[in-house]
Amino acid sequence: MNLLSVHDLIVRFRTHDGTVHAVNGVSFDLNEGETLGLVGESGCGKSVTNLAVMRLLPSPAGRIEGGQVVFEGQDLLSLDESEMRDLRGKEIAMIFQDPMTSLNPVLTIEEQMVETIRAHRRVSKAEARAKTIELLSTVGIPQPESRLRNFPHQFSGGMRQRVMIAMALALEPKLLIADEPTTALDVTIQAQVLELLSRLAADRGTAVILITHDLGVVAGMTKRTNVMYAGFVVESATTADLFARPHHPYTVGLLHSMPRLDAQPGEPLIPIEGTPPDLRFAPVGCPFAPRCAWRVDRCWRENPVLEPMQPTQEIVTTGLQATHRIACWNQPTAEEAAAARPLRPGFTPAAPPTEDLS
């Protein structure tokens, strides 16, 4: 049985400007102890997907309008708020992007961590305090006994993120959701924090969902990756497979827009042209079509679904044997993926249809 199984999740935001189609039928599975990367640019729905799993969407604007989130055989969407509260922190914990703002400035580290532990465990203050000291030294905070009484503003960014990691792992959750855990940190600190995170998660057998727009982080930290675009998963594969054989034009674009050490001097970066679609409009056709160099007529009319590369292939959704799946009508070939442009003679991207499809 999967630890977490998200099926056809749909999240909408009701705003003054209309309904935002943030997540449009995302499905993925996660095994115990597995690491999954969620990659995509800002606003592609990767954070919203996970806030929905935690049922922490900003209310009343954000609403889960469909799908299932099954955690250890339990449908999280059918739990009431107090049952959900028992689960948060204890079974599923979260690490946020900005450690400078995710600790309460008026409470000491001790107060915040002891409170978290005692919210779920019937232990005395002294026991919780001892546990806190142990955790802080595990994440590499020097002199944890004296640092306990410090306020967050007395820590540097990297140290605060270590405190956040300690707090998230305090109750030994089965699933840890790390939402861009290193984006706000110095590059020199990023590697340390990531290394700490992956080591602690591996030691405890914690499954990790890592949300990031940094492909380098995904490559180093995860075994499996979902690429998201405009609220859809557009490509899903093991991380090794995805980097070796990217198939979706968006993934190809992402990989080529990133500077690489093995690139020839003077070799240009290839940006993805255009901007992400306006999520206030339900997509007609493939959401990536307007920016895609491989688009064909069908891309403007029909939204492709996530399917295995070979149609007859049996689908494995988790683990290192996971099936490489992609949502695309006109896949780039391996050579085209390497060149980041269509190489077929005479091919031009299909012009947008003239008749109104919406």
Partner: protein, 297 residues
């Protein structure tokens, strides 16, 4: 040759542990105007506390023969129409003005905090209904509302405290609710929720302490206005109701008829009102600067 200064990342050096409040206090003590304000308030507080020791006369007993004397060594601020020592009356008046003013603000703060916390914490329909009530109260000028409440509840110190307190509570409610709404979407509140903290715990432990500073500033500033409002009610004849009791506002009313012949009778209680109000204003401004995290150095 001098050695170049070594760059040190200041934030990572553990400073001697000091709390946010102690930091704020330090900043407050470096603020000149705030200290002037505190001195003004302190003068009145000591004057009020030590009135029986300082004043040589009973503020309620005088003889008509001594009426309306100018300031002299015997009567530092002269005597009023009934021959009562004006200095003693100003001192005893400080008791009424300060206690009524401060307690009124306290009532307003408690009431407003309660309403604001329920509205900001619960949200939805509760929030909507409570805030419309607050809107209605805010639409009526504060002093008019206070006059109405005193007229309804009758004379007396408690009534004045309640009246002024009720007229101030909407401001506190609105202020607190606004801060809470902003805090509800803040990272650390979402982080606390993601750790499974209960709504009451989040409200009491994470949101209220962070929403407190604007309330403290507003309360100090409101104390200044409250002193003026209490005097205003007294001036309009809605004071404590006992003509023997020295109250700054009533003292102004009593002596307003003698503005030309005995201007000092207006001058001293008037100055007392102004100075105490300015004191609270200066302290409030100082507190605002001391507690504002953006000004933190």
């Amino acid at each position: 040759m001098t050695t170049p200064p070594v760059a040190i990342e200041v934030a990572s050096i553990p400073r001697t542990s000091r709390g946010l409040w102690r930091d704020a206090f330090r900043r407050l003590m470096r603020n000149g105007p705030a200290i002037v304000g505190m001195v003004c308030i302190a003068i009145f507080v000591f004057g009020a506390l030590l009135a029986p020791l300082i004043a040589r006369y009973d503020p309620t007993i005088g003889s008509l023969a001594d009426g309306r004397q100018g300031p002299s060594l015997a009567h530092l601020m002269g005597t009023d129409l009934q021959g009562r020592d004006e200095f003693a009356r100003v001192l005893y008046g400080a008791r009424i003005s300060l206690t009524v003013g401060v307690v009124a603000v306290f009532f307003g703060l408690v009431g407003g905090t309660l309403v604001g916390a329920i509205a900001g914490g619960a949200g939805g329909l509760v929030d909507g209904v409570l805030m419309r009530v607050v809107d209605v109260l805010l639409a009526v000028p504060g002093i008019l509302l206070a006059i109405g409440i005193v007229a309804w509840l009758g004379h007396g110190e408690i009534q004045i405290m309640l009246a002024v307190g009720i007229s101030y509570s909407p401001i506190f409610a609105r202020l607190l609710r606004g801060s809470l709404l902003a805090l509800r979407e803040s990272d650390y509140v979402i982080a606390a929720r993601s750790m499974g903290a209960s709504p009451t715990r989040i409200l009491m432990r994470h949101m209220l302490p962070n929403a407190l500073t604007p309330l403290i500033v507003q309360a100090t500033l409101a104390a200044a206005t409250a002193i003026i409002d209490v005097a205003g009610l007294g001036f309009l004849g809605l004071g404590p109701g006992d003509p023997r009791v020295a109250e700054w506002g009533e003292m102004l009313t009593d002596s307003s008829k003698f503005l030309q012949s005995a201007p000092y009778l207006i001058l001293f209680p008037g100055a007392a009102i102004v100075i105490s109000a300015i004191g609270f204003n200066l302290l409030g401004d100082g507190l605002r600067e001391a507690l504002d995290p953006r000004l933190k150095r």
